[in-house]
Symmetry: C2
Subunit: 254 residues, 2 copies
Amino acid sequence: MTYCVGLMLNKGLVFMSDTRTNSGIDNISTFRKMHTWEVPGERSITLMTAGNLATTQAVVSLLDERSKQPGDRHPGILEAASMFQVATLVGNVLKEVISTHAQTGQQANSAFNATMILGGQVGDGEPRLFLIYPEGNFIEASFDTPFFQVGETKYGRPILVRAYDPDMSFEDAIKLLLLSFDSTIKANLSVSLPLDVHVYHAGSLQSGEIFRIEADDPYYETISSGWGSALRDAFHGLPDFTFPAETVQRATGS
Amino acid sequence: MTYCVGLMLNKGLVFMSDTRTNSGIDNISTFRKMHTWEVPGERSITLMTAGNLATTQAVVSLLDERSKQPGDRHPGILEAASMFQVATLVGNVLKEVISTHAQTGQQANSAFNATMILGGQVGDGEPRLFLIYPEGNFIEASFDTPFFQVGETKYGRPILVRAYDPDMSFEDAIKLLLLSFDSTIKANLSVSLPLDVHVYHAGSLQSGEIFRIEADDPYYETISSGWGSALRDAFHGLPDFTFPAETVQRATGS
């Protein structure tokens, strides 16, 4: 499993992905699931992947190769004229890779599927964020749906829904994402640190802060342990429940 | 979908279930998923069901009929000598019902599966809580794993894990469960109010408070709206994130 989130803010885009992959619980590895391409002053593109590792690695390798071969029949993601074209390209490559593996050679029981979050900015366009399906089609984030999650999405969703604000700072967005990841990591063994982060500043047309939060990161540990007591305080701060009068009479037999 | 939780406390057992069933998003109904049997002074047994509605209703009807026919070859759940025997009986009935529908007549694409939470107390035994699988086998809660969820379990799990305490009062347990249900209801349209509640007092050997929390319940509304701002306060109360120095230099190009 995997957990990746792409968040759209007024200030730009924030991407966070975990690094754990597993093929059965006795075969666990660390792989990078976040990939960034840039042409400074012209474009910055980030892709996060969830699903079959062979599929996602093949997609990233093909995108890489095509970005280095300008004569290829496909324009590479470094030449595509807009984020929409980049998303179309990535979707097509993803669909091709899946269908190649699905139709030839040995058949596997598990699907070769993968789902991807793509975000960035190209030239005069706005920063854009897409969710790309295994079928190669995609949807785009808006301020009604300002973030996309892929992988193990459920545990970490309630806090995102409650605390997201499009005006929040990058620092607050990272804090929020760490809480969402912490809820997921606590519940699902197949999602784990280290976490990769990319903060893209709207209009900068170059990659922003790219860094990795390691398993022993002191800030993550502070957030993770502090959140438990903060939640308990919030819980106790809410008004207390009292039983409806008629049920109490029933229970006490009076 | 469905969401049901059974919680084991030092003071007793708390059960909460939603009431929404759906067969496609355009076919939504309200059905009771919590069923309680009692022989005051001797036993109280509560069953909550998730899964195929035809299966779960058949199981409950069979349990009901057998409890009224003492001469049946199966002892009914009102005669079984322990909670373990009750769980065995419910598991067997569940397995029978599923296999009957799976092997005869028209085949459906969706499974006839169901999963159940069973809890209560019989005679001199302790209060016990079980999770019963479609295969008819079951596991029992302990103070390492003090609660069971069935149905749409993920959204509501983080708050349970963080705030559960075996010493908590019944009132606090209901508040906690309402928060867990609220997170689930906000995320999944197929889980919804009204909610059924049963609070079983350890050693009472009779049903405790049984009541329904309706869709317009003022306490639920207070909790639901208050939790959003309480979470945001908790979020802002945690220490702020600061970017690692080297990444800031990279991003500003200095």
